[in-house]
Symmetry: C2
Protein backbone atom coordinates (compact mmCIF):
# COMPACT_ATOMS: atom_id res chain seq x y z
CA UNK A 1 0.00 0.00 0.00
CA UNK A 2 1.59 3.31 -0.96
CA UNK A 3 2.08 5.85 1.78
CA UNK A 4 -0.24 8.69 1.04
CA UNK A 5 -1.94 11.51 2.93
CA UNK A 6 -4.68 10.30 5.23
CA UNK A 7 -8.07 10.66 3.54
CA UNK A 8 -10.67 12.60 5.48
CA UNK A 9 -12.76 10.31 7.69
CA UNK A 10 -16.25 9.41 6.55
CA UNK A 11 -19.35 9.81 8.69
CA UNK A 12 -18.80 6.23 9.83
CA UNK A 13 -15.06 6.21 10.37
CA UNK A 14 -14.76 9.50 12.22
CA UNK A 15 -14.05 8.61 15.84
CA UNK A 16 -16.65 10.33 18.00
CA UNK A 17 -16.01 9.10 21.54
CA UNK A 18 -12.61 10.38 22.69
CA UNK A 19 -11.95 11.81 19.27
CA UNK A 20 -8.29 12.46 20.14
CA UNK A 21 -7.77 8.68 19.97
CA UNK A 22 -8.77 8.56 16.29
CA UNK A 23 -6.11 7.74 13.70
CA UNK A 24 -6.79 7.86 9.99
CA UNK A 25 -3.38 7.33 8.41
CA UNK A 26 -2.88 4.15 6.41
CA UNK A 27 0.40 3.33 8.16
CA UNK A 28 -1.30 3.04 11.54
CA UNK A 29 -4.29 1.15 10.15
CA UNK A 30 -2.13 -1.32 8.25
CA UNK A 31 0.22 -1.94 11.19
CA UNK A 32 -2.71 -2.87 13.45
CA UNK A 33 -4.27 -5.13 10.82
CA UNK A 34 -0.96 -6.88 10.23
CA UNK A 35 -0.34 -7.54 13.91
CA UNK A 36 -3.81 -8.88 14.75
CA UNK A 37 -4.38 -12.63 14.39
CA UNK A 38 -8.16 -12.53 14.14
CA UNK A 39 -10.80 -10.03 13.15
CA UNK A 40 -14.45 -9.80 14.13
CA UNK A 41 -16.66 -9.54 11.06
CA UNK A 42 -20.06 -7.97 11.51
CA UNK A 43 -22.89 -8.15 9.02
CA UNK A 44 -26.67 -8.27 9.12
CA UNK A 45 -28.88 -11.08 7.85
CA UNK A 46 -32.52 -10.04 7.60
CA UNK A 47 -31.61 -6.99 9.67
CA UNK A 48 -30.21 -9.09 12.50
CA UNK A 49 -26.54 -8.68 13.40
CA UNK A 50 -23.86 -11.35 13.40
CA UNK A 51 -20.30 -10.97 14.66
CA UNK A 52 -18.00 -13.80 13.61
CA UNK A 53 -14.35 -14.13 14.65
CA UNK A 54 -12.12 -15.29 11.82
CA UNK A 55 -8.57 -15.34 10.51
CA UNK A 56 -7.63 -12.86 7.82
CA UNK A 57 -4.73 -11.50 5.82
CA UNK A 58 -4.00 -8.16 4.26
CA UNK A 59 -2.57 -7.83 0.77
CA UNK A 60 -1.98 -4.25 -0.33
CA UNK A 61 -5.27 -2.43 0.19
CA UNK A 62 -7.58 -5.41 0.75
CA UNK A 63 -8.38 -7.69 3.65
CA UNK A 64 -8.92 -11.32 2.61
CA UNK A 65 -11.17 -13.76 4.46
CA UNK A 66 -11.67 -17.43 3.71
CA UNK A 67 -13.74 -20.40 4.69
CA UNK A 68 -15.50 -23.46 3.38
CA UNK A 69 -17.78 -22.85 0.43
CA UNK A 70 -20.76 -23.66 2.67
CA UNK A 71 -19.81 -21.10 5.33
CA UNK A 72 -22.95 -19.03 5.95
CA UNK A 73 -21.10 -15.89 7.03
CA UNK A 74 -18.76 -15.90 4.06
CA UNK A 75 -21.61 -16.56 1.67
CA UNK A 76 -23.43 -13.51 3.04
CA UNK A 77 -20.29 -11.45 2.50
CA UNK A 78 -19.75 -12.85 -0.98
CA UNK A 79 -23.36 -11.93 -1.79
CA UNK A 80 -22.55 -8.28 -1.09
CA UNK A 81 -23.70 -7.74 2.49
CA UNK A 82 -22.39 -4.61 4.14
CA UNK A 83 -19.55 -5.37 6.49
CA UNK A 84 -17.94 -3.84 9.53
CA UNK A 85 -14.66 -5.64 10.17
CA UNK A 86 -13.02 -4.83 13.51
CA UNK A 87 -9.67 -5.88 14.95
CA UNK A 88 -8.58 -5.13 18.49
CA UNK A 89 -5.15 -5.44 20.10
CA UNK A 90 -5.03 -5.17 23.88
CA UNK A 91 -1.92 -3.48 25.25
CA UNK A 92 -2.68 -2.86 28.89
CA UNK A 93 -5.07 -2.57 31.79
CA UNK A 94 -5.21 1.01 33.01
CA UNK A 95 -5.93 1.16 36.74
CA UNK A 96 -6.91 4.61 37.95
CA UNK A 97 -7.34 5.91 41.48
CA UNK A 98 -11.10 6.09 40.83
CA UNK A 99 -13.26 3.26 39.53
CA UNK A 100 -14.68 5.73 37.01
CA UNK A 101 -11.38 6.33 35.22
CA UNK A 102 -10.31 2.73 34.77
CA UNK A 103 -9.54 2.04 31.13
CA UNK A 104 -7.53 -0.11 28.75
CA UNK A 105 -4.72 0.61 26.38
CA UNK A 106 -5.59 -0.78 22.99
CA UNK A 107 -5.24 -0.37 19.25
CA UNK A 108 -8.30 -1.10 17.14
CA UNK A 109 -9.30 -0.75 13.51
CA UNK A 110 -12.72 -0.71 11.89
CA UNK A 111 -13.14 -1.27 8.16
CA UNK A 112 -16.52 -0.61 6.55
CA UNK A 113 -17.58 -1.70 3.10
CA UNK A 114 -18.71 -4.57 0.96
CA UNK A 115 -16.63 -7.62 0.18
CA UNK A 116 -16.48 -9.40 -3.14
CA UNK A 117 -15.71 -13.02 -3.90
CA UNK A 118 -12.27 -13.79 -5.29
CA UNK A 119 -12.88 -15.85 -8.41
CA UNK A 120 -9.46 -15.72 -10.02
CA UNK A 121 -7.66 -18.94 -9.07
CA UNK A 122 -4.24 -17.36 -8.87
CA UNK A 123 -5.46 -14.49 -6.66
CA UNK A 124 -7.21 -17.06 -4.48
CA UNK A 125 -4.03 -19.12 -4.15
CA UNK A 126 -1.99 -16.04 -3.25
CA UNK A 127 -4.61 -15.02 -0.68
CA UNK A 128 -4.63 -18.45 0.97
CA UNK A 129 -0.84 -18.44 1.27
CA UNK A 130 -1.01 -14.91 2.69
CA UNK A 131 -3.44 -16.21 5.33
CA UNK A 132 -0.85 -18.78 6.40
CA UNK A 133 2.03 -16.31 6.27
CA UNK A 134 0.02 -13.77 8.28
CA UNK A 135 0.15 -16.16 11.23
CA UNK A 136 3.78 -17.30 10.87
CA UNK A 137 5.96 -15.35 8.44
CA UNK A 138 7.26 -17.57 5.65
CA UNK A 139 5.17 -20.52 6.74
CA UNK A 140 3.59 -21.05 3.31
CA UNK A 141 7.00 -22.09 1.98
CA UNK A 142 7.21 -24.90 4.54
CA UNK A 143 3.88 -26.60 3.86
CA UNK A 144 2.16 -28.63 1.22
CA UNK A 145 0.51 -26.10 -1.06
CA UNK A 146 -3.22 -26.14 -1.81
CA UNK A 147 -4.43 -28.57 -4.45
CA UNK A 148 -6.91 -27.57 -7.13
CA UNK A 149 -9.59 -29.40 -5.19
CA UNK A 150 -8.75 -27.56 -1.96
CA UNK A 151 -8.89 -24.26 -3.82
CA UNK A 152 -12.33 -25.15 -5.17
CA UNK A 153 -13.52 -26.10 -1.67
CA UNK A 154 -12.52 -22.71 -0.28
CA UNK A 155 -14.45 -19.48 -0.58
CA UNK A 156 -12.27 -16.37 -0.48
CA UNK A 157 -13.62 -12.83 -0.28
CA UNK A 158 -11.83 -9.52 -0.17
CA UNK A 159 -12.82 -6.26 1.47
CA UNK A 160 -11.22 -2.99 0.35
CA UNK A 161 -9.52 -0.92 3.05
CA UNK A 162 -11.10 2.27 1.77
CA UNK A 163 -13.35 3.39 4.58
CA UNK A 164 -11.33 2.63 7.68
CA UNK A 165 -10.15 4.19 10.90
CA UNK A 166 -8.07 3.27 13.90
CA UNK A 167 -8.51 4.14 17.55
CA UNK A 168 -5.55 4.05 19.91
CA UNK A 169 -5.18 4.60 23.64
CA UNK A 170 -1.75 4.70 25.22
CA UNK A 171 -0.27 5.91 28.51
CA UNK A 172 -1.24 5.88 32.14
CA UNK A 173 -4.46 6.63 33.96
CA UNK A 174 -5.96 10.11 33.87
CA UNK A 175 -7.62 10.80 37.20
CA UNK A 176 -9.59 13.72 38.56
CA UNK A 177 -7.24 16.43 39.86
CA UNK A 178 -8.43 15.93 43.42
CA UNK A 179 -7.84 12.16 43.35
CA UNK A 180 -4.06 12.07 42.88
CA UNK A 181 -3.39 12.16 46.61
CA UNK A 182 -5.57 9.11 47.26
CA UNK A 183 -3.67 6.09 48.57
CA UNK A 184 -4.92 3.73 45.84
CA UNK A 185 -2.35 2.11 43.56
CA UNK A 186 -2.63 3.41 40.00
CA UNK A 187 -0.76 2.52 36.86
CA UNK A 188 -0.73 0.17 33.91
CA UNK A 189 -0.59 -3.63 33.80
CA UNK A 190 0.86 -4.41 30.36
CA UNK A 191 -0.85 -7.06 28.25
CA UNK A 192 0.94 -9.06 25.60
CA UNK A 193 -0.25 -11.95 23.44
CA UNK A 194 2.74 -14.24 23.90
CA UNK A 195 3.67 -17.22 21.71
CA UNK A 196 4.82 -20.17 23.81
CA UNK A 197 7.25 -22.94 22.94
CA UNK A 198 6.05 -24.82 19.85
CA UNK A 199 4.61 -28.27 20.61
CA UNK A 200 5.34 -30.68 17.75
CA UNK A 201 2.57 -32.96 16.56
CA UNK A 202 3.82 -36.51 16.93
CA UNK A 203 0.87 -38.21 15.23
CA UNK A 204 1.60 -40.36 12.20
CA UNK A 205 -1.96 -40.22 10.98
CA UNK A 206 -5.23 -38.37 11.56
CA UNK A 207 -7.13 -38.93 14.83
CA UNK A 208 -9.32 -41.99 14.61
CA UNK A 209 -11.99 -40.94 17.10
Amino acid sequence: MPTEPAPPPSARTRVRRQADRGRYDRETIVAILDEALVCHVGFAVDGRPWVVPTAFARIDDHVYLHGATGNVALRALAAGAEVCLTVTLLDGLVLARSAFHHSMNYRSVMVFGRAQPVTDTEEKRVALLALVDHVVAGRSQATRLPTAQELRATLVVKLPIDEASAKVRTGGPVDEPGDYQLPHWAGVIPLDLVRGAPRPDVADGPPTS
Copy 2:
Protein backbone atom coordinates in the same frame (compact mmCIF):
# COMPACT_ATOMS: atom_id res chain seq x y z
CA MET B 1 -26.02 -18.57 37.38
CA PRO B 2 -27.43 -21.93 38.46
CA THR B 3 -26.05 -24.99 36.75
CA GLU B 4 -28.81 -26.43 34.66
CA PRO B 5 -29.18 -28.64 31.63
CA ALA B 6 -28.04 -26.96 28.43
CA PRO B 7 -31.05 -25.54 26.58
CA PRO B 8 -31.43 -26.63 22.96
CA PRO B 9 -29.62 -24.26 20.59
CA SER B 10 -31.72 -21.79 18.63
CA ALA B 11 -31.55 -21.37 14.88
CA ARG B 12 -28.94 -18.68 15.49
CA THR B 13 -26.85 -20.31 18.18
CA ARG B 14 -26.58 -23.76 16.66
CA VAL B 15 -22.99 -24.08 15.43
CA ARG B 16 -23.11 -25.05 11.77
CA ARG B 17 -19.49 -25.02 10.59
CA GLN B 18 -17.59 -27.79 12.37
CA ALA B 19 -20.60 -28.53 14.48
CA ASP B 20 -18.55 -30.78 16.77
CA ARG B 21 -16.94 -27.62 18.13
CA GLY B 22 -20.29 -26.28 19.41
CA ARG B 23 -20.84 -26.04 23.16
CA TYR B 24 -24.16 -25.05 24.65
CA ASP B 25 -23.73 -25.59 28.37
CA ARG B 26 -23.81 -22.53 30.60
CA GLU B 27 -20.64 -23.52 32.44
CA THR B 28 -18.55 -23.33 29.27
CA ILE B 29 -20.22 -20.13 28.08
CA VAL B 30 -19.78 -18.38 31.41
CA ALA B 31 -16.15 -19.45 31.80
CA ILE B 32 -15.25 -17.96 28.41
CA LEU B 33 -17.14 -14.74 29.13
CA ASP B 34 -15.44 -14.38 32.49
CA GLU B 35 -11.94 -14.87 31.10
CA ALA B 36 -12.26 -12.47 28.16
CA LEU B 37 -11.29 -8.84 28.75
CA VAL B 38 -13.20 -7.34 25.84
CA CYS B 39 -16.17 -8.28 23.72
CA HIS B 40 -17.09 -7.22 20.20
CA VAL B 41 -20.64 -5.87 20.09
CA GLY B 42 -22.42 -5.98 16.75
CA PHE B 43 -25.59 -4.12 15.90
CA ALA B 44 -27.11 -2.51 12.85
CA VAL B 45 -27.97 1.16 12.41
CA ASP B 46 -30.20 1.77 9.40
CA GLY B 47 -29.38 -1.75 8.28
CA ARG B 48 -25.63 -1.11 8.31
CA PRO B 49 -23.47 -3.16 10.67
CA TRP B 50 -21.20 -1.87 13.42
CA VAL B 51 -18.79 -3.92 15.48
CA VAL B 52 -17.46 -2.12 18.54
CA PRO B 53 -14.88 -3.54 20.96
CA THR B 54 -15.68 -2.78 24.57
CA ALA B 55 -15.15 -3.87 28.15
CA PHE B 56 -17.89 -5.83 29.84
CA ALA B 57 -18.76 -7.77 32.96
CA ARG B 58 -21.04 -10.67 33.67
CA ILE B 59 -23.33 -10.75 36.69
CA ASP B 60 -25.41 -13.92 36.96
CA ASP B 61 -27.18 -14.31 33.63
CA HIS B 62 -26.54 -10.87 32.14
CA VAL B 63 -23.65 -9.18 30.41
CA TYR B 64 -23.24 -5.53 31.36
CA LEU B 65 -21.77 -2.86 29.08
CA HIS B 66 -21.10 0.76 29.93
CA GLY B 67 -20.04 4.03 28.38
CA ALA B 68 -20.63 7.74 28.39
CA THR B 69 -24.26 8.78 28.08
CA GLY B 70 -23.44 10.22 24.63
CA ASN B 71 -21.95 6.97 23.34
CA VAL B 72 -23.67 6.26 20.02
CA ALA B 73 -23.25 2.48 20.19
CA LEU B 74 -24.58 2.21 23.72
CA ARG B 75 -27.50 4.46 22.90
CA ALA B 76 -28.43 2.20 20.01
CA LEU B 77 -28.31 -0.77 22.35
CA ALA B 78 -30.30 1.04 25.03
CA ALA B 79 -32.92 1.86 22.38
CA GLY B 80 -33.46 -1.86 21.81
CA ALA B 81 -31.32 -2.68 18.80
CA GLU B 82 -30.69 -6.36 18.21
CA VAL B 83 -27.25 -7.36 19.37
CA CYS B 84 -24.72 -10.06 18.62
CA LEU B 85 -22.03 -9.94 21.29
CA THR B 86 -18.97 -12.06 20.57
CA VAL B 87 -15.90 -12.81 22.68
CA THR B 88 -12.90 -14.72 21.43
CA LEU B 89 -9.97 -16.19 23.34
CA LEU B 90 -6.98 -17.32 21.28
CA ASP B 91 -5.22 -20.39 22.62
CA GLY B 92 -2.87 -21.44 19.86
CA LEU B 93 -1.73 -21.38 16.26
CA VAL B 94 -2.25 -24.77 14.67
CA LEU B 95 0.36 -25.45 11.99
CA ALA B 96 -0.52 -28.37 9.75
CA ARG B 97 1.60 -30.15 7.15
CA SER B 98 -0.64 -28.64 4.46
CA ALA B 99 -1.50 -24.96 4.10
CA PHE B 100 -5.15 -26.02 3.80
CA HIS B 101 -5.36 -27.47 7.30
CA HIS B 102 -3.79 -24.61 9.22
CA SER B 103 -6.09 -23.50 12.01
CA MET B 104 -6.25 -21.87 15.42
CA ASN B 105 -7.20 -23.13 18.82
CA TYR B 106 -9.74 -20.79 20.34
CA ARG B 107 -12.74 -20.46 22.61
CA SER B 108 -15.49 -18.10 21.50
CA VAL B 109 -18.98 -17.18 22.63
CA MET B 110 -21.80 -15.47 20.78
CA VAL B 111 -24.75 -13.97 22.64
CA PHE B 112 -27.80 -12.83 20.68
CA GLY B 113 -30.59 -10.66 21.99
CA ARG B 114 -31.64 -7.16 22.92
CA ALA B 115 -30.11 -5.13 25.70
CA GLN B 116 -31.97 -2.86 28.06
CA PRO B 117 -30.78 0.20 29.93
CA VAL B 118 -30.07 -0.19 33.62
CA THR B 119 -31.99 2.57 35.34
CA ASP B 120 -31.83 1.45 38.95
CA THR B 121 -28.96 3.37 40.58
CA GLU B 122 -27.93 0.53 42.85
CA GLU B 123 -27.86 -2.01 39.99
CA LYS B 124 -25.85 0.49 37.96
CA ARG B 125 -23.35 0.94 40.79
CA VAL B 126 -22.97 -2.80 41.23
CA ALA B 127 -22.47 -3.23 37.46
CA LEU B 128 -19.77 -0.57 37.31
CA LEU B 129 -17.87 -2.17 40.17
CA ALA B 130 -18.22 -5.54 38.44
CA LEU B 131 -16.66 -4.02 35.33
CA VAL B 132 -13.62 -3.00 37.39
CA ASP B 133 -13.45 -6.33 39.21
CA HIS B 134 -13.76 -8.22 35.92
CA VAL B 135 -10.36 -6.83 34.91
CA VAL B 136 -8.59 -7.20 38.27
CA ALA B 137 -10.36 -9.26 40.93
CA GLY B 138 -11.14 -7.19 44.02
CA ARG B 139 -9.99 -3.97 42.41
CA SER B 140 -13.22 -2.09 43.17
CA GLN B 141 -12.35 -2.26 46.86
CA ALA B 142 -9.08 -0.42 46.24
CA THR B 143 -10.40 2.59 44.33
CA ARG B 144 -12.46 5.68 44.89
CA LEU B 145 -16.04 4.59 44.25
CA PRO B 146 -18.27 6.31 41.70
CA THR B 147 -19.94 9.55 42.74
CA ALA B 148 -23.59 10.25 42.04
CA GLN B 149 -22.47 12.54 39.21
CA GLU B 150 -20.27 9.85 37.68
CA LEU B 151 -23.16 7.39 37.86
CA ARG B 152 -25.40 9.87 36.06
CA ALA B 153 -22.73 10.41 33.38
CA THR B 154 -22.55 6.69 32.65
CA LEU B 155 -24.94 4.68 30.54
CA VAL B 156 -25.16 1.01 31.53
CA VAL B 157 -27.03 -1.62 29.54
CA LYS B 158 -27.51 -5.31 30.17
CA LEU B 159 -27.94 -8.17 27.74
CA PRO B 160 -29.46 -11.45 28.90
CA ILE B 161 -27.37 -14.58 28.29
CA ASP B 162 -30.40 -16.49 27.03
CA GLU B 163 -29.59 -17.21 23.41
CA ALA B 164 -25.91 -18.05 23.48
CA SER B 165 -23.43 -20.63 22.29
CA ALA B 166 -19.74 -21.33 22.49
CA LYS B 167 -17.36 -22.75 19.91
CA VAL B 168 -14.13 -24.39 20.98
CA ARG B 169 -11.21 -25.86 19.09
CA THR B 170 -8.45 -27.69 20.93
CA GLY B 171 -5.66 -30.07 20.01
CA GLY B 172 -3.17 -30.50 17.23
CA PRO B 173 -3.44 -30.27 13.47
CA VAL B 174 -5.58 -32.72 11.52
CA ASP B 175 -3.94 -33.41 8.19
CA GLU B 176 -4.90 -35.52 5.21
CA PRO B 177 -3.92 -39.17 5.76
CA GLY B 178 -1.37 -39.02 2.95
CA ASP B 179 0.34 -35.92 4.33
CA TYR B 180 1.68 -37.26 7.61
CA GLN B 181 4.92 -38.46 6.05
CA LEU B 182 5.70 -35.01 4.64
CA PRO B 183 8.83 -33.40 6.11
CA HIS B 184 7.05 -30.19 7.15
CA TRP B 185 7.01 -29.28 10.85
CA ALA B 186 3.51 -29.51 12.31
CA GLY B 187 2.18 -28.76 15.74
CA VAL B 188 0.79 -26.03 17.93
CA ILE B 189 2.29 -22.70 18.97
CA PRO B 190 0.48 -21.83 22.21
CA LEU B 191 -0.89 -18.31 22.62
CA ASP B 192 -1.40 -16.67 25.97
CA LEU B 193 -2.49 -13.14 26.86
CA VAL B 194 0.13 -12.41 29.53
CA ARG B 195 0.00 -9.67 32.15
CA GLY B 196 3.37 -7.99 32.57
CA ALA B 197 4.88 -6.34 35.62
CA PRO B 198 2.63 -3.47 36.81
CA ARG B 199 4.00 -0.01 36.00
CA PRO B 200 3.01 2.48 38.71
CA ASP B 201 1.76 5.89 37.65
CA VAL B 202 4.05 8.47 39.26
CA ALA B 203 2.06 11.53 38.21
CA ASP B 204 0.84 13.84 40.95
CA GLY B 205 -1.80 15.41 38.74
CA PRO B 206 -3.52 14.97 35.38
CA PRO B 207 -1.50 15.49 32.17
CA THR B 208 -1.33 19.15 31.22
CA SER B 209 -0.89 18.71 27.44
